[in-house]
C-alpha cells in the first residue's frame, strides 16, 4: 500500500499569489479537434437544434480529414479542409453543417486566427452551399470574408 501523508496548512504558501498551472498547448503547434470534441459538438447540435443522434459511417473518415488537414499548409487551408470535409461527410446521422461550422470556427480561434465573415445571412448561405465551393474558395472566404 502506498503511504499517505497529510500536509499541514502552509501559511507561507498562502501568502504567495496563486500561480496558474501551465498551459498544455504548445504555441509552436497547431491544435486539431479530437474525436471526443467532434462528437460532443455534434451531440450539442442535435440536442439544441434537433435531428437524428448517433453515427452513420463512424469516425474513420474524420481521421482521414485530420490527416489531410495536418499535411496542408496554412491555418486557413487546414480550416477549409475541416469545414468542407465534415460538412459533406456522413460521419453522423445528422447535423454535419452545424457541426463543421462550430468545429472550424473553434479551430480558427484556438489557433489564433480570425473567422472573417460576420454577416449571419452570408454565413448561412455559404455553409448551406458549401458543396459547390472549391477548397481554394473556402480558404479565401474564411481568410477574407469574401470570394
Amino acid at each position: 500500500m502506498p503511504k499517505v501523508t497529510k500536509r499541514r496548512r502552509n501559511k507561507d504558501e498562502i501568502k504567495q499569489p496563486l500561480v496558474l498551472p501551465e498551459c498544455e498547448a504548445d504555441p509552436n503547434e497547431v491544435w486539431y479537434p479530437s474525436d471526443w470534441f467532434l462528437m460532443q459538438i455534434n451531440e450539442i447540435m442535435i440536442d439544441r437544434y434537433g435531428g437524428f443522434k448517433g453515427f452513420e459511417s463512424g469516425l474513420e473518415p474524420y481521421h482521414h480529414f485530420i490527416e489531410e488537414a495536418k499535411s496542408a499548409e496554412g491555418i486557413y487551408r487546414k480550416a477549409a479542409i475541416l469545414l468542407k470535409d465534415i460538412a459533406t461527410s456522413r460521419i453522423f446521422q445528422d447535423g454535419h453543417h452545424r457541426t463543421s461550422y462550430i468545429v472550424t470556427k473553434t479551430f480558427l480561434e484556438k489557433n489564433d486566427a480570425d473567422f472573417k465573415e460576420k454577416d449571419e445571412l452570408k454565413i448561412i448561405r455559404f455553409i448551406k452551399g458549401i458543396r459547390k465551393y472549391s477548397l481554394v474558395e473556402i480558404e479565401d472566404w474564411l481568410k477574407n470574408g469574401e470570394l
Binding site: M45, R48, H96, H97, I102, T106
Partner: protein, 35 residues
C-alpha cells in the same frame, strides 16, 4: 499557433453567440429524414 484557451469554452461561446445561424442551418439540409 495554439493558444491556452479551452476549446470547449470557445465552442460553447460561439454556439450561444451564433444561435440564429445554427437554427437556420438546420432547415432542410443534411440527410433525408425519412425512416
Amino acid at each position: 499557433m495554439a493558444n491556452c484557451k479551452d476549446p470547449m469554452d470557445i465552442a460553447l461561446r460561439i454556439i450561444k453567440q451564433d444561435d440564429r445561424i445554427l437554427s437556420a442551418l438546420n432547415n432542410g439540409h443534411g440527410k433525408s429524414k425519412k425512416r
